[in-house]
């Protein structure tokens, strides 16, 4: 079974973000970029499925600039077979991204398309369902584990207080969240092999983007705490402040 996994290059979740000079982007200097952790789960899920079935091909697709090649190589090093870079602008408009991916995926029409439930940078959660809609496929979101038969995919999602199990006919789109698929380390041989695997570049067919980022702001800096007193005498004042100022009670 051939599987396509859509992946995105995002700032390392450990990075300290600074706002860029234009006020609408983050300052890329000193920022380390990684394969979005949710997409990493999706790559792992695809590789496990391929290994369990002993056949098929895993293709990773990313929409972005040339720097996204590094992200694709990471997935190739983990074990994906080939990669496609859709060269285009990364926009906050999930629909534009989904259109770009649909144009590519529609051509090969694989039975299963996997994505991370969301990109770790914008938390959009839009691209998976929109891609499914554009492809005319059913979609399960925030799936923590799944199993595939020849005709369908059975997906488990953690929902409030329990588990929901959905069955989707193939071809389908599934978005993956943290669960079963703790990603493997790329082996050193895998990293070397990734250099030799095919990475195709195409122009992205995203169409117009209707969203634009107006501002990026950091959360306000925390102000220093203050000491209201000591011992039991301080309790009434502390309770008053918690109730009236902090609205915590």
């Amino acid at each position: 079974m051939n599987i396509i996994v859509c992946v995105k290059r995002v700032p390392d979740t450990e990075t300290r973000i600074r706002v860029g000079g234009d006020g609408t982007s983050i300052d890329p200097s000193g920022v380390k970029y990684v394969l979005s952790p949710y997409d990493e789960f999706a790559v792992e899920a695809a590789l496990r499925l391929k290994e369990a079935r002993g056949e098929g091909e895993v293709t990773v697709v990313s929409l972005g600039d040339d720097a996204s090649q590094e992200t694709l190589r990471t997935a190739l090093a983990m074990g994906a077979d080939r990669a496609v870079l859709l060269q285009g602008e990364v926009t906050p408009d999930g629909l534009a991204t989904a259109r770009g991916l649909a144009a590519e995926i529609g051509e090969s029409d694989p039975p299963l398309v996997l994505l991370g439930v969301k990109a770790a940078d914008d938390d959009g959660q839009q691209v998976g369902p929109m891609l499914a809609t554009l492809l005319g496929r059913p979609c399960a979101t925030a799936v923590s584990s799944f199993e595939v038969t020849d005709e369908s995919v059975v997906c488990r999602s953690e929902v409030e207080g329990g588990t929901r199990v959905l069955e989707l006919p193939l071809p389908a789109v599934v978005t993956i969240t943290k669960g079963e698929y703790e990603p493997r380390y790329a082996s050193l041989k895998g990293i070397m092999a990734a250099k030799r695997k095919p990475l195709e570049k195409k122009e992205a067919q995203t169409g117009p983007s209707r969203l634009r980022v107006k501002a990026v702001e950091l959360p306000p800096e925390r102000t220093a705490g203050r000491i209201v007193g000591e011992g039991p005498d301080a309790v009434p004042e502390l309770v008053r402040l918690l109730r009236e100022e902090a609205n915590a009670l």
Partner: protein
């Protein structure tokens, strides 16, 4: 998975590494975060090598990583291999020592001097971490002067009879195979020294744990005793003739140590820097005090010098121009630097610096062994002295 450890890169050396080299380093860095750091305190206090790590290191391709793929190795260049050593020693010198011995002192001689049969029998098993090897050169009375060894190999009808003792043998007690160096001729004849691939279950071969160590506690250090150990002719490493062969192995291992020491120093420096920023004394963080700033400035300078030396040494090794004397300089200088950085980091940490929950004192104690093994600091000084004056002083 991204590592929480950001490394130390004051001179933008990152821009000199290839994408693959960076990816290899970051992979090992993440693995050390996840698999070594959470267990190393317990292993160190408990005085054992975490055996399960050997198999994982094999699965990821860390063992003998610069040897060719046809024997199950990763086929990396020497800079990548060095970066692996750096990251492993960022975890612990004992973990790096394991990988150094397995790769540079066991797999390397089998690959460089072994028969096809020896290569096929041992290299894939050693690369995977399923089998472990050790290297028996040093003896109780012959450390810096291995040419004087008194372990002997005497010709028998179908092979060789080995007798003698080897000391300070990393991986000795857990090894499946030992590379044993023995004198086949007159004692003192360095041309008579030959290497043997000896399975450790051969009758007459015993290994006992070295008791009483205060350094490299998460590493297996043992004594080997060979009492009438009979091995077939096929155990002889055909290409290893004379003392030069084991010295070539040591050059490989010392190369890795030059990188590894930088890793240990980076761990200590980053720990000290973070601590200094958080530790409030008098009216502010100790990072704002002149004495600690000078400490940190010395540390980051030493590390940067060490990185540059290891980096260029690696590029020369990949180009085939590296000399053993250049390796001596880098091993000597970088380990000395790491010893200083670890000691100063420990001091900056104050009372907390003696606790195992901080890494500085563990690294500090480990590095005293690293300073001493694989050619002591002093012997490497004499090798350099000979290189520049043309006069041997040992």
């Amino acid at each position: 998975m991204a590592s929480k450890f950001k490394g130390v890169d004051f001179y933008d050396l990152d821009s000199l590494f290839s994408d693959e080299e960076r990816m290899i380093r970051d992979t090992i860095r993440g693995w050390v975060d996840e698999r070594v750091l959470p267990i190393i305190e317990e292993a160190y206090i408990g005085r054992y090598f975490p055996r399960e790590l050997a198999t994982e290191m094999g699965e990821l391709g860390m063992l003998g990583a610069n040897l060719p793929e046809e024997y199950g190795c990763a086929g990396l260049n020497n800079v990548s291999y060095g970066l692996i050593m750096q990251e492993l020693e960022r975890g612990d010198s004992g973990i790096r020592s394991f990988a150094s011995v397995q790769g540079a002192l066991v797999m390397y001689p089998i690959h460089a001097f072994g028969s096809d049969e020896q290569k096929e029998t041992w290299l894939p098993a050693l690369a995977s971490g399923k089998k472990i090897g050790c290297f028996g050169l040093t003896e109780p009375d012959f450390g810096s002067n291995p040419g004087g060894m008194i372990t002997t190999a005497r010709k028998t009808d179908g092979g060789w009879l080995l007798n003698g003792s080897k000391f300070w043998i990393t991986n000795g007690s857990m090894a499946d195979v030992a590379i044993v160096w023995a004198q086949t001729g007159e004692l003192g004849d360095t041309k008579g020294i030959r290497g043997f691939v000896v399975p450790t279950d051969t009758p007459g071969f015993t290994a006992t744990d070295q008791k009483g160590k205060l350094s490299l506690l998460a590493s297996d250090t043992s004594e080997l005793h060979l009492e009438d150990v009979e091995v077939p002719e096929s155990a002889l490493l055909p290409g290893a003739k004379g003392l030069k062969a084991p010295l070539m192995c040591l050059t490989q291992a010392r190369y890795g140590i030059a990188w590894g020491a930088v890793g240990a120093a980076m761990a200590c420096y980053v720990e000290a820097l973070e601590y200094a920023g958080e530790r409030i004394m008098f009216d502010g963080p100790i990072a704002g005090k002149q004495i600690q700033q000078i400490r940190l400035a010395e540390m980051v300078t030493g590390i940067t010098q060490g990185q540059l030396m290891a980096y260029h040494l690696g590029r020369m090794k990949d180009e085939g121009t590296m000399t053993p004397q250049q390796v001596s300089m880098a091993k000597r200088a970088n380990v000395d630097m790491a010893c200083e950085v670890a000691r100063e980091a420990r001091r900056l940490l104050g009372g907390n610096g003696i606790l195992v929950e901080y890494s500085a004192m563990r690294h500090m104690a480990n590095l005293e062994s690293v300073y001493t093994y694989e050619g002591t600091h002093d012997i490497h000084g004499l090798i350099l002295g000979q290189a520049v004056t043309g006069l041997a002083a040992y």
